[in-house]
């Protein structure tokens, strides 16, 4: 016979075990609506009567919600088999849309596994839409600072409906494309943490951009934002974006094609090293000297050139260097004069290495007196060919 005294401890343990189960925060995993991607658009401009409604709910937001494969089979909706479902609606803010989504879905939205946020350039170019929309995600504790942000040309929600041959979810398709570093025509993925840092430092920046056509996405080029207003001021085309990649020495790989030694040559870029030096003797006219070292391999050549000859190699190296310099010039020219925002990192260079000069010029850098446009940027590239592929010549000359 066990005495009641001795039973007390196990009894207490059982009571605590029961109490511990009644946690406030217990949510079963199959009660969470995993949001994989978010797109933010403006409402399409319609007739005058819609104008008033526009001020109340100016955004069209879409959530891409993951539908677990196992449970979709017996559902009545055939869409379940695609593995996701998109919920779209009008809302004044993301919190308002969160409410709406909670009313629409049996599983409330859960953002810990969010992969990409797509913001339409129509939102980004107007007012404070871009910063306002990202605030919701920056404050959320479960949301990572490494979520990728892309600016969509035109309609952002179309990208969430794109079809991918490889991935079940359009959102993870976009995330993987955005994250690969094998093309120079796009920037390294723009993460929400990076954007928060730009917001706080008030430096202008470039964001990856995305385009959807025929249900297929293309990530290339970049959108340029002003650091003060966080509004999009312009865009760089793929060639200018390549120049920006070279100038800033981003760790990207990719191909460039150029005419040299009488044929068309494609170079595989393995490594980019960039170093910018500033000459600040005249704050009104700062001169930047950029030295870019590029390591390449020859990937493709047309015609019959002999890659073993030193003169041919020197010729290609020289031509490649001037092609890279011209790409950089394109980017610098566009940013200095057409867009007038410093996404080149020149201001940061001054801030880090010439803090006194920066204090003097920062209020007139890419606004006010526009000292950015007055400064001079000279790029000097050197190209070294390391590999010529597995064969010397592919056809006899």
């Amino acid at each position: 016979m066990v005495s009641p005294r001795r039973l007390r401890a196990p009894l207490l343990a059982v009571v605590f075990a029961l109490l511990a189960n009644g946690c406030w925060d217990r949510v079963e995993i199959n009660n969470r609506g995993f949001v994989a991607g978010v797109s933010i658009d403006t409402l399409p401009a319609e007739d005058g009567t819609e104008e008033r409604a526009k001020s109340a709910a100016p955004y069209r937001i879409c959530y891409q919600i993951v539908v677990p494969g196992g449970q979709s089979g017996d559902g009545e909706s055939s869409k379940g088999s695609t593995g996701y479902s998109n919920l779209c609606g009008k809302a004044a803010s993301l919190s308002a849309f969160h409410q709406y989504a909670t009313d629409k879905l049996s599983r409330p939205p859960f953002y810990d596994h969010l992969k990409v946020i797509l913001v339409s350039d129509q939102v980004a170019r107007k007012g404070t839409g871009f910063a306002d929309m990202l605030d919701f995600f920056m404050r959320g504790a479960g949301v990572r600072r490494s979520i990728k942000i892309l600016v969509a040309k035109g309609n952002a929600s179309e990208a969430l409906n794109s079809e991918s041959p490889n991935e079940g979810l359009p959102a993870s398709d976009i995330e993987k494309i955005s994250g690969n570093r094998s093309s120079l025509e796009k920037l390294p993925a723009t993460q929400i943490g990076f954007i928060h840092e730009r917001f706080m430092n008030e430096t202008s920046y470039a964001v990856q951009s995305l385009e959807t056509s025929d249900k297929s996405v293309l990530v290339s080029g970049s959108a340029i934002f002003d650091g003060k207003t966080n509004r999009q001021w312009g865009a760089l085309n793929p060639r200018q974006t390549t120049g920006l990649n070279f100038l800033r020495g981003y760790h990207m790989r990719g191909m460039i094609t150029l005419e040299s030694a009488g044929s068309s040559i494609s170079l595989n870029i393995y490594e980019i090293k960039s170093r910018i030096r500033a000459d600040v003797r005249d704050p009104e006219h700062i001169r930047f000297e950029a030295t870019i070292n590029v390591v390449v391999g020859i990937r493709e050549s047309s015609g019959t050139i002999d890659l073993v000859q030193k003169t041919v190699m020197d010729r290609i190296q020289h031509d490649a260097a001037s092609e890279i310099e011209s790409m950089i010039e394109d980017a610098v020219d566009a940013l200095q004069h057409d867009i007038g925002k410093d996404a080149l990192g020149l201001g940061e260079e001054l801030k880090q290495n010439h803090p006194r000069t920066w204090e003097k010029v920062k209020s007139d850098w890419d606004q006010g007196k526009m000292l950015l446009s007055a400064c001079e940027v000279r790029a000097h590239a050197t190209v070294g060919i390391r590999l010529t592929g597995t064969v010397d010549q592919t056809e006899r000359g």
């Binding site: 406030w24 925060d25 990572r144 600072r145 490494s146 430092n201 803090p355």
Partner: protein, 368 residues
């Protein structure tokens, strides 16, 4: 409840080091980078942290000098011997209140962080009481048990911190640390004030005097114990600036937690390192709270010598809970923090220095 009796109820120099480190590594390190980044340019805060570390080291040595004069007695009997009984009572009361506030602050902080990152819907009050009850349970055993827990937890804490920092290297951008030395000296001094708060608590060793083995070289052990948190503070600060830049670090509430969130280990399983980081951090805050509670209990026992330890705990636990729930808003919570750090200057620096001076003048309790 039966209490386990240790055969060896004394602590050596390794336990001294881990005790000092464990109590210093607490909430402070989580918020320190953002406090410093608020007014110190780029990465110049390392000067402040180092200066705070040196000050802590100097005060630590004063504490060690005092310990040598105890002659095996407790802190309270020592103060009574070199001053008068009423003054000794007053000093014990100050330490008692201070450590109780310290417990309250740690408990409130852990409740806040848990609520923010882990348990969104659980009331703060409930998280706090659950945590506090575990602390009370930990303290109600022998003092040596708490110290042994330190020696067990600290290596785990350091290991996880090293893993986080090691895998965080890929996120850092060294250019963010530039420009060097552009902050005005006055700002650096006020940064030192911020940093000292993260480094308070080493004076707890005063209350462990009777347990010390006679042959222990406390000075060296104390300095090692202080050096570990200082290095950890320095590294987390530099990492935050290098990863998030100064301007963004200033806006992030808990930069250290955000670093842990960003770090990704290869392989999907360990992608969410912050869950391990949280577990470990709750462990170290548990240690900190236990030791502070222990010290507070010891002070109460000195004032009301007839009470036994259990009764002291029963009295102090509700008071600690009440203090912990007092701040309602963020501002009041921060005020509690600054009140504690202000008293902390007294308990960690002023009182030990004065006591040492008095002991020297009177020549009482000197061992030569």
């Amino acid at each position: 409840m039966k209490i386990f009796d240790y055969g060896d109820n004394q602590i050596g120099s390794r336990e001294v080091s881990t005790t000092v480190s464990s109590i210093m590594i607490g909430i402070g390190i989580l918020t320190l980078p953002s406090l410093l980044a608020k007014h110190i340019q780029a990465s110049d805060g390392w000067v402040s942290i180092l200066a705070a570390g040196l000050i802590a080291g100097a005060c630590g040595l004063v504490v060690c000098r005092l310990l040598r004069r105890f002659q095996g007695g407790t802190f309270h009997s020592f103060t009574a011997r070199i001053t008068t009984r009423p003054i000794a009572m007053l000093i014990s009361a100050i330490y008692g209140v201070y450590f109780l506030l310290y417990v309250a602050f740690e408990v409130r902080s852990i409740a806040r962080i848990s609520r923010m990152y882990l348990l969104e819907n659980t009331p703060t009050a409930f998280i706090a009481i659950a945590f506090l009850l575990v602390v009370v349970y930990g303290v109600s055993g022998t003092t040596a048990a708490v110290i042994r827990l330190n020696t067990m937890f600290l290596p785990i804490v350091l290991l996880i911190s090293v893993v986080v920092l090691l895998f965080g290297i890929q996120l850092t951008n060294v250019d963010n640390l530039k420009p060097f030395m552009t902050t005005r000296p006055f700002e650096l001094v006020s940064g030192t004030k911020d940093a000292t708060f993260a480094l308070l608590g080493f004076e707890v060793l005063l209350f462990y005097a009777p347990l010390l083995k006679p042959a222990v070289r406390t000075e060296k052990a104390m300095l090692i114990g202080i050096a570990i948190p200082v290095v950890l503070c320095l590294l987390t600060y530099l990492y935050s600036i290098a990863i998030f830049t100064q301007a963004a670090t200033a806006q992030i509430l808990f930069p250290t937690v955000e670093i842990a969130k960003e770090v990704r280990l290869p392989g999907q399983f360990f992608e969410r390192l912050e869950s391990i980081f949280f577990t470990v951090w709750i462990m170290t805050i548990f240690n900190t709270s236990c030791m502070a509670m222990e010290a507070s209990v010891s002070c109460l026992q000195a004032i009301a010598s007839k009470l036994d330890k259990r009764w002291c705990l029963l009295i102090l636990c509700p008071v600690a809970y009440f203090l912990n729930m007092l701040p309602e808003t963020m501002m009041q919570y921060k005020m509690l923090g600054s009140v504690i750090s202000t008293i902390g200057y007294g308990t960690a620096a002023a009182i030990p220095i004065i006591l040492l001076a008095v002991a020297r003048l009177r020549g009482g309790g000197s061992v030569g």
